[in-house]
């Protein structure tokens, strides 16, 4: 089978180069016909050129075409990857800056909290338009969504359409790297049971290698800071990780790993659940880590992106594209994104185990059936399925339940265009609810007004 893969948002400097390189490096996908669709014709063309160049360099059969008409782009697709941002930085700026004026600092602002809620309101209608087109022109296709907020978006598609939908995120990949440093193993050797939502995936147990209990080993290490302060790690953190050297040793040590993932390991130590996303994401689900008294999380080494950080990331993406364009070969370094692996499992029928976002079918007992959950899944010839069943214990289970309620309401608000429902989501959102009651109302009104042009469903 030579799959037809449509990338909606195919002009993305971030996604297109990475996905195309991953496809070129995945034997089952080297014969794919890739269709790029984007509102930005010029960038779509740039990425088409890049993809064709990659195919030439490798001498593979992958074809790449750019198609500006969406239905035509989707027609006959086996896989549709959605990677878009409604309003880009122009809209996102309001997600970050309006709450900031009210005293709320969101380290990233793309999943939950006021920023995540508004982003969902903008993106849900667009994703649903795409999904409805898929229902018509490619009803058997898998929709592979990588757009944030992932949970709310996937939920809207599974709730409102018949399209087979899966959400993918690379946060667990980052966590498996951290674990590989601490447990002296390969990234592929750690296998968790996950139960959570996107950007708050919670490992309730962890196997290392064939039968070792990773949690036992982690607790032993955390309880022995002297050992952690001297034991080296198998690779130094890359500069862009921005880690601070803490241990006195000349080399990077396991203590440095722990200290640069403070929230993750604090929660693990206390509550026995390992958060599989970076601290900058997870604290938006537990805002007592983002409080003036801890310098909005900086005391916990929580990294704040701010608009500057988001813009820097975007500049890096352009630079990465240019490197790819000017290289003589195609990089063999995996992007760390899971799209190609997922497709590979489905195309070859050889089961791939990876974290996925799917409707809950009893996989996470804390959450309702149908809620979109991040769990370990299996991609094979029959599609993608949740693999495990787990209960998130204690306080972490309750925080998960709380946020998922808000996510369900966010979807409801995005679909209905009802301002009251937006406010209800804000009132129950852990970050927004840090504000005085009347300020939550004021902030919600301001955010809706400032981004009104991207929110047609709220037109009175």
């Amino acid at each position: 089978m030579t799959p037809r893969i449509t990338i909606v948002g195919g002009g993305s400097y971030h996604w297109a180069p990475r996905l195309l390189a991953d496809f070129a490096n995945t034997p089952s996908l080297t014969g794919s016909s890739v269709v790029l669709h984007d509102l930005d014709t010029e960038r779509m063309k740039l990425m088409q050129d890049l993809g064709r160049e990659m195919a030439d360099r490798r001498g593979i059969a992958m074809t790449v075409e750019a198609e500006g008409e969406r239905r035509r782009a989707l027609d006959g697709a086996d896989f549709v990857i959605t990677a878009f941002s409604v309003g880009g930085f122009d809209s996102m700026q309001h997600d970050i800056e309006i709450p900031q004026r009210f005293g709320i600092r969101q380290p990233i602002g793309d999943s939950v909290g006021p920023g995540g809620i508004l982003r969902a309101l903008r993106s849900v209608p667009v994703l649903l338009d795409i999904a409805r087109d898929i229902e018509t022109v490619a009803p058997d296709a898998w929709l592979v969504n990588v757009t944030n907020p992932l949970t709310a978006l996937c939920r809207s598609a599974t709730r409102e359409t018949n399209v087979k939908t899966v959400g993918l995120c690379n946060e667990w990949v980052g966590c498996s790297w951290v674990l590989s440093l601490l447990l002296d193993c390969g990234m592929a050797d750690v296998d968790p049971i996950l139960g959570g939502v996107n950007h708050f995936p919670l490992a309730t147990s962890l196997r290392v290698g064939d039968d070792e209990d990773g949690f036992v080993r982690l607790h032993a290490l955390l309880n022995d800071p002297e050992r952690a302060a001297v034991e080296p790690i198998w690779m130094d953190p890359p500069d862009r990780a921005g880690w601070v050297k803490v241990s006195p040793a000349e080399h990077w040590t396991k203590l440095d790993v722990i200290e640069n993932n403070r929230v993750r390991f604090e929660l693990f130590r206390r509550f026995g659940v390992l958060v599989g996303s970076g601290d900058h994401h997870s604290v938006e689900f537990m805002p007592s880590f983002v409080h003036p008294a801890n310098d909005y999380g900086r005391d916990w080494r929580v990294h704040h992106y701010g608009m500057g950080g988001h813009r820097r990331d975007a500049d890096d993406d352009v630079e990465f594209y240019e490197e790819m364009r000017d290289a003589s070969d195609v990089t063999r370094m995996p992007s760390g994104e899971l799209v190609a692996q997922l497709l590979d499992g489905m195309v070859t029928g050889k089961a791939k185990h990876l974290p996925v976002n799917l409707p809950n079918e009893g996989n996470v007992t804390n959450l309702d059936a149908g809620a979109v959950v991040e769990i370990m899944g299996v991609a094979d010839g029959s599609g993608v399925h949740g693999r495990d069943k787990t209960t998130v214990p204690g306080i972490m289970g309750e925080f998960l339940r709380r946020i998922n309620v808000v996510q369900e309401w966010t979807v409801e608000a995005a679909l209905s265009g009802d301002r009251e429902l937006v406010l209800e989501a804000m009132l129950a959102d852990p970050i927004a609810a840090q504000l005085p009651y009347e300020k939550i109302i004021e902030m919600t009104d301001e955010m809706l007004a400032a981004t009104a042009r991207w929110l047609p469903q709220f037109d009175a």
Partner: protein
């Protein structure tokens, strides 16, 4: 057979005199045997003396005895009323002062929030001790708990012991009174359904003289200027209370209920406890920016306020003892009327705190919830099944999760579980993670002598 009614904490000047007046005014209890038990012997004799005085005035066959021995008191008991406070103001001071140093001001501090959690940790072992004695000595007696925090205390009883337990709180009567004044109705002509937890009971429907009471309330709120400043007319039969409230206008009454009315305007249902309690469940109303509730008309009750009240309660008992008349005004407490409904098998509806067996479909089974229940010769059963709007239902689930954690912590004596209850509590969980933990440790350590299970 004369019922034997034991009051554990029978020396409470705040609660016992008004309970006693209600008991002597209840016909079915004319021959009742009242037992006042307290670990402090000093107030017991004045209380018993007061009972003998009014029994003499009314010519009843009621008897009263006192003891400091809990097990002796429970012998043969039919009803055990619990009105205790472990450590009194000496412990409660820490419930308020320590959180304040960490940036949390509490308006009451007796139901949820850091104060409510600590109070539960102190009182739950005492109540479990009473219930354990009851299991041996009077296993069929009812425990009528009026001690705070009511929800967690009752939940610990029903979770941990076989004693039939019900929690009784007067907050609904207060809301009912305010509504009757606002809607020109008699107190008893209001019919409502409600659901929630203690100090956050929520009226989901209201009928007044055949009308939708919520519609009438909305009409009133839509035109506050039309209310004028005329003092409200009190319903007939209020006697001296009429003089007390005589100068109050409807506009002023609204000013005292801003929080519940704001919630009513948003969600269409009406919280039925005093605003000072409500804000501890909805800390968006209890913020520095709003003057710690001032903007919403909420004042913080301090220990000094409570000490003044306590002195007033003592004075009140002395006055009542000196008088040769017994007030016939019901106190608003439900102990006497509920026992009356049991004894005479006359079904009567009360707002009561019982395990959720379906009366609160938005909350998990078995957690203790406040809802309208029917008391009769067969005992108690929930009357209604009331659903809440989304946001309030979710808010109650969050509160309930913290209350469940509180009960677990109180029973286990595990300090980490106290931190977890605090983190889950909407008010305590508002401050940063480290301060939640520091505050918890400081509170545990300052009140350690009342927390033997954490030793």
């Amino acid at each position: 057979m004369a019922p034997r009614i034991v009051i554990v904490g029978g020396g409470s000047y705040q609660w016992v005199p008004k309970l006693l007046v209600d008991l002597v005014n209840t016909g079915s209890l004319a021959e009742a045997e009242i037992v006042l038990q307290d670990i402090d012997p000093d107030p017991l004799e004045p209380m018993a003396d007061f009972v003998r005085h009014v029994v003499g005035l009314k010519g009843l066959g009621m008897t009263v005895s006192t003891t400091t021995d809990q097990r002796a008191a429970l012998e043969g008991a039919d009803y055990v009323v619990v009105t205790i406070s472990t450590g009194g103001f000496a412990s409660m001071r820490h419930d308020l002062e320590i959180p304040e140093r960490h940036g949390i001001k509490q308006s009451v501090g007796d139901s949820v929030g850091p104060g409510g959690i600590m109070r539960a940790l102190r009182n739950i072992p005492v109540l479990v001790g009473i219930a354990r004695d009851m299991e041996e000595i009077c296993p069929h007696a009812w425990m009528l708990n009026i001690t705070n925090p009511m929800t967690t205390l009752c939940r610990a009883m029903t979770h941990e012991t076989s004693i039939r337990t019900v929690g009784l709180c007067h907050e609904i009567a207060g809301a009912q009174f305010a509504l009757s004044l606002l809607l020109d109705s008699s107190f008893l002509d209001l019919e409502f359904e409600l659901v929630g937890v203690n100090h956050l009971p929520i009226l989901t429907s209201l009928r007044v003289d055949g009308d939708d009471g919520f519609d009438r309330l909305r009409a009133l709120l839509a035109d506050p200027d039309g209310l004028g400043n005329e003092p409200v007319k009190l319903p007939a039969g209020f006697g001296e209370a009429a003089a007390l409230a005589g100068g109050v206008s409807k506009r002023e009454i609204l000013e005292h209920h801003k929080v519940k009315l704001a919630l009513f305007e948003r969600y269409g249902v009406l919280p039925g406890a005093g605003d000072r309690h409500l804000v501890e469940f909805f800390p968006g109303f209890l913020t520095e920016e709003s003057g710690w509730g001032k903007r919403w008309g909420v004042a913080l009750t301090t220990i000094a306020d409570r000490e003044r009240d306590a002195a007033g309660h003592r004075g009140m008992l002395a006055e009542m003892r000196a008088s040769n008349e017994v007030s016939t005004m019901p106190s608003g407490e439900m102990v006497a009327p509920m026992i009356d409904a049991f004894l005479r098998d006359r079904p009567h509806a009360f707002p009561l705190n019982l395990p959720n067996s379906g009366q609160a479909p938005d909350l998990p089974p078995d957690v203790v919830v406040e809802a309208m229940c029917v008391a009769d010769g067969r005992g108690l059963r929930p009357r209604d099944q009331a659903r809440l709007p989304n946001v309030l239902a979710e808010w109650l689930r969050r509160v309930s999760a913290s209350q469940e954690a509180t009960v677990r912590a109180a029973l286990s004596g595990n300090r980490d579980q106290v931190v977890e209850a605090m983190l889950l509590d909407p008010l305590a969980g508002r401050i940063d993670f480290d301060h939640v933990e520091q505050m918890t440790d400081e509170m545990l350590s300052a009140t350690a002598r009342w927390l033997p299970q954490f030793a």
